[in-house]
């Protein structure tokens, strides 16, 4: 098989130095290893392969592939792992290793899960009613971000985040109370 290099250079595959391809595999393996929850460990190599395909596609469509750095690989690894998690949830019957668990669920009781689901929907409804800045500040709070992190993500001052978050949470708690929850 002979392929053009895409920039006028003509090289065949025999001239390909393996180092960089190996290096890509290594860094993607490292990234996936760090991203991958323990219950998906047996799928590690498949996820690496999927991530590799994504990088390859990106390479093919990027004019300056040298600008793709490790940050990009982290992003790809995260994306590949999320796809696998969702696949496992959608198709638990495909699981041949450890049964999938919901990593962040605190309860295995169906009743408690149902209640948590209802509260989650009530929170979503409450957030939807908030003005965008408050909604975003509160969402980041509920996602576990500190004031400083939120400020960096939103490009605001911490004071503004604090203010929007405070007012947003107050309104959210009020909404939940009206819905019969005791926040």
């Amino acid at each position: 098989m002979k392929q053009g290099a895409g920039n006028g250079t003509d090289r065949d595959e025999g001239a390909i130095p393996p180092f960089d391809a190996r290096r890509l595999h290594t860094v993607l393996s490292c990234a996936v290893r760090r991203v991958c929850p323990a219950w998906l460990a047996q799928r590690h190599e498949d996820i690496v392969q999927n991530a590799t395909v994504r990088v390859v596609k990106k390479w093919s469509s990027t004019e300056e592939p040298e600008t793709l750095g490790t940050s990009y690989l982290w992003r790809v690894a995260h994306s590949a792992v999320m796809d696998e998690i969702r696949h496992r949830r959608r198709h638990p019957e495909d699981t041949w290793d450890v049964p999938p668990e919901i990593p962040t669920a605190r309860s295995s009781s169906p009743e408690l899960r149902r209640e948590a689901g209802e509260l989650r929907r009530a929170i979503e409804a409450g957030l939807k009613r908030l003005p965008a800045p408050r909604r975003r500040a509160v969402a980041l709070y509920l996602l576990g971000h500190s004031l400083k992190e939120s400020a960096e993500i939103l490009g605001w001052t911490t004071k503004r985040v604090d203010n929007q978050r405070y007012q947003g949470l107050t309104a959210l708690r009020r909404h939940l109370s009206e819905q019969g929850y005791e926040p």
């Binding site: 250079t9 390909i16 750095g69 969702r86 949830r89 979503e124 939807k128 909604r135 993500i153 939103l154």
Partner: protein, 221 residues
Amino acid sequence: MSESRKGDEHLRDAFGAPLETTARSPECPEDERIWSAAQGEADAAITGSVLDHVAGCSACAESWRMARAIGEDAGIANVRKVPLHRRPLVWTVAAVAAGIFLVALLLPSSLDRRGVDPLDVFRAAESVALESRIDESVAVPRDRAILSWKGAPDGSVYTVEVATADLEILIRSESQVETEFRIPTEALGGIPDHGKVYWRVEALLPDSSRVSSSVFVLELQ
């Protein structure tokens, strides 16, 4: 306002628990976009729209939380933009290899497995599995950072690679015949105490096939 109110824990838990019925919808942003927003890499407009969506979508909230956890764990915000290439030509050539790899993934039977095949890098022999002999729960002194593995038949030749947590390759040793490798202390100079390095082994088997291990972790004291 304080950073966190006690009573908010259950709000966070409820907001954080993915619903069993969770499924992505066509409106869901791509995970890569969620990643960029969660790492503070996206512009304000994108971040805002992603957050507005995440606020009402447990599937994407889960993706965001995972991105956050990874970023926090790896210090992504401070990850240097280390290019994956050594020089542009290598990237060009690597892109060709990558293209071949992609085609080969889609049409595996089209490959001539007897020739020099870059796919060998990624292909694992079915009957050989390289395993670490290192207890990952035990931190080792940096002057005794010895990697050890098993699983390949006698006569195999190994390549060992060691990388930092931010994916920078620290050292690569080729043509190893022993199933042990001592990481030179100087290669670990930039790793803080209790820092971790990631390593993997590739074996060239006597039948000329190649096997790659998973990535293993070694914690330094």
